[in-house]
């Protein structure tokens, strides 16, 4: 039996055992997200379509899947969705600039030997693809953090309906501070787990620190980690602000109409 299928089956059984219906939906969401990635791949293969635009659409779809499909459409998920999209747009501007300046796109000299059978002049703009990859690797963490803030903020507003907008915003920020350490840690370990082979390679071939830091692959990985960290941090004030704006305004108008 195929190892991946077996792992997927185990994950599915565990998720439905522990999460019930919602668990099954969460498992199915992984498949939907996989579908989105395949679509992204198709569009990026067309040199006439800007990969950044494709990525923005993909992020919106992924946001819908992670927030509206796993949970449901309600105030919490709507504000989290809006916050994720705004964060993504701000982040992508920054990432495109950095990717263009630092030239971390494409493949490094360490990889190029095994790619010698391929034609590299394929017309796809790899700088933009590199920026897209950084955004895509962070989008899961961004929607997660947005949801983790907007959901307890909704609870706070529910228990204290007359809370002021500023107090609610402060509450959101303080929730955000608590999850900050763990979300940056999650990304950090996920990336370093993936780069373990690379790190051993650098050490084995006794690269000097100067060579490691300036090599395309390592600097690309570092910039990805930092940008991911910037993304999950930035989403905290943005979500707190949007949720506070939305909830308190809504609260006031419903008070006056009732």
């Amino acid at each position: 039996m195929n190892a991946i299928l077996l792992l997927a089956a185990i994950l599915f059984i565990l998720m439905t055992l522990i999460g019930g219906k919602k668990g099954a939906r969460s498992f199915f969401a992984i498949f939907l997200n996989f579908g989105v990635i395949i679509f992204v791949l198709f569009f990026m293969n067309d040199p006439n379509i800007n990969p950044i635009i494709v990525t923005l659409f993909a992020c919106a779809f992924i946001g819908c899947i992670n927030l509206f499909f796993i949970n449901e459409v309600n105030i919490k998920t709507k504000t989290a969705f809006l916050a994720s999209i705004i964060t993504t747009v701000v982040l992508i501007v920054f990432i495109v600039i950095i990717a263009e300046k630092s030239m971390i796109q494409g493949f490094g000299e360490e990889e190029i030997e095994e790619l010698s059978i391929f034609s590299l002049y394929i017309g796809v703009d790899f700088v933009k693809v590199a920026a897209s990859v950084i955004i895509m690797s962070t989008i899961g963490a961004i929607t997660d953090a947005a949801m983790a803030i907007s959901s307890p903020m909704r609870e706070i507003h529910y228990h204290h309906p007359d809370i002021s907008r500023k107090e609610l915003f402060q509450a959101g920020i303080s929730i955000g501070k608590d999850i900050l350490g763990t979300s940056t840690n999650t990304l950090f370990f996920a990336f370093f787990g993936g780069y373990l082979a690379l790190l051993i390679w650098f050490k084995d071939l006794s690269y000097s620190p100067g060579e490691i830091i300036n090599s395309k692959i390592f600097s690309g990985e570092m910039i990805t980690i930092f940008c991911a960290g910037i993304g999950v941090t930035m989403v905290i004030p943005i979500t707190s602000w949007i949720t506070a704006m939305y909830l308190v305004k809504r609260g006031n108008t419903s008070d006056t109409t009732e």
């Binding site: 190892a3 991946i4 077996l6 792992l7 185990i10 994950l11 565990l14 522990i18 919602k22 668990g23 939906r25 997200n33 996989f34 990026m44 293969n45 040199p47 992924i62 992670n66 796993i70 949970n71 920054f94 300046k101 630092s102 030239m103 971390i104 796109q105 494409g106 493949f107 000299e109 790619l115 391929f118 034609s119 590299l120 002049y121 693809v129 690797s137 962070t138 501070k177 608590d178 900050l180 350490g181 763990t182 940056t184 840690n185 999650t186 950090f188 370990f189 370093f192 787990g193 373990l196 082979a197 690379l198 051993i200 390679w201 050490k203 071939l205 100067g210 830091i213 300036n214 600097s219």
Partner: protein, 372 residues
């Protein structure tokens, strides 16, 4: 300035001088490098042509003539002539612009020739890493204040630990990489959770749950790979391999899921403890129900974090495969099998942390109750 307490004011000054001095250092650290560095003074694109490969992909090639000034070593201050070729898609090449710093190799200077000539080796990128690094740190401090500082410290400590663990492994290859990683994982878990959450029962419960869940998920993955004989896993896609590949893969998977498992464990234990603190006599049954609810809420988004962090990195390679007329199924199985296995194994780790975290936390709560 009068609103800012003196202590904070000093902190700002220290931070600003750190940024300024590190920026100054990377701008002027050329003499610390052994490889020759040259700063680009003049760029001229003198030729460009359309190219078409055998798969009908259209691209454009450009040639540049570059004059640069060497900034370190014996030839410091001399001009050097370089040439560069790049394509519009820039998969393996880059467009040189004035002001950039390059690593170059110098060819033997011919008698009578006025200027040096050489080849471009690579780009100097250290200042971009520094720039993004500082932006990351500043945003983290600005939003997270004290907690932000602790997260930075915990990230730095973990990076040093990881590098040290790898050094130990490389010096003692007879010790299994998994064994070293297990020791490292215990250290990672203890330091990060203590730094972020402090010394209390909440943290102890999370540490025990994290360790139990990571080792259990590693065991499950290992058994699956043994049972299926690793069928479907294309180890040849593992790049940069200098050591036994299966060990490196398992160790990477082990460390990769650790952060997510820690995240779930601390979420479980802190939400259960906050319920207990609000109501000391809350029945165990109610704790179990609420804990499972919290677990269901975070399980979906957490598995997706790992999924995207792993899968997205393969996109450039997939594009290259598909553009070179490889069939989609072949390209996906060649490039994604290990990433998918990682994401799925990480997902298994996340999901089993939910009941493990629940029961360890309840154990700690019951112990606290008995002490009262």
């Amino acid at each position: 300035m009068k609103n800012i307490p003196l202590k904070k004011f000093y902190l700002y000054i220290i931070l600003a001088s750190c940024i300024a001095s590190s920026a100054l250092f990377v701008q002027n650290n050329d003499s610390f490098y052994e490889r020759t560095i040259a700063e680009v003074k003049e760029v001229q694109t003198h030729h460009s042509e359309e190219v078409k490969d055998i798969y009908d992909n259209e691209d454009r090639l450009y040639e540049q003539r570059i004059v640069a000034e060497i900034t370190n070593g014996e030839e410091k201050g001399q001009q050097i002539q370089l040439s560069n070729q790049y394509s519009k898609s820039k998969a393996y090449d880059y467009e040189i612009q004035t002001g950039q710093k390059l690593f170059v190799s110098i060819e033997e200077k011919k008698e009578g020739a006025g200027e040096l000539s050489g080849d471009i080796l690579d780009l100097k990128r250290d200042h971009y890493i520094l720039l993004t690094g500082w932006i990351f740190i500043l945003i983290l401090l600005f939003v997270g204040k004290k907690q932000g500082l602790f997260s930075i410290i915990s990230l730095a400590v973990n990076a040093v630990l990881l590098s040290y663990a790898l050094d130990v492994y490389l010096k003692n290859p007879e010790i299994s990489l998994l064994l070293i990683c297990s020791a490292a994982v215990i250290l990672f878990t203890v330091t990060s959770l203590l730094l972020v959450n402090g010394f209390n029962e909440k943290t102890y419960a999370a540490i025990i749950a994290t360790l139990a869940a990571t080792f259990l998920s590693l065991l499950i993955t290992y058994l699956v790979i043994r049972l299926t004989g690793g069928k479907g896993l294309k180890y040849e896609e593992l790049q940069f391999i200098t050591r036994p590949y299966q060990m490196v893969f398992l160790a990477g998977l082990f460390i990769g899921s650790l952060g997510a498992v820690m995240d779930v464990a601390i979420t479980m234990s802190s939400s259960l403890f906050s319920l207990y603190e609000k109501n000391n006599s809350i029945p165990v049954q109610a704790l179990k129900r609420s804990g499972m609810e919290v677990g269901k809420d975070i399980m979906g988004t957490m598995t997706n974090i790992l999924f995207f962090a792993y899968i997205s990195g393969s996109i450039p390679m997939l594009i290259l495969y598909i553009k070179n007329d490889s069939p989609l199924g072949f390209s996906l199985s060649m490039n994604l099998s290990l990433e998918l296995a990682r994401a799925l194994a990480g997902g298994i780790g996340i999901v089993i942390t939910i009941p493990i975290g629940l029961y360890t936390t309840i154990y700690f709560i019951n112990r606290k109750r008995a002490q009262r």
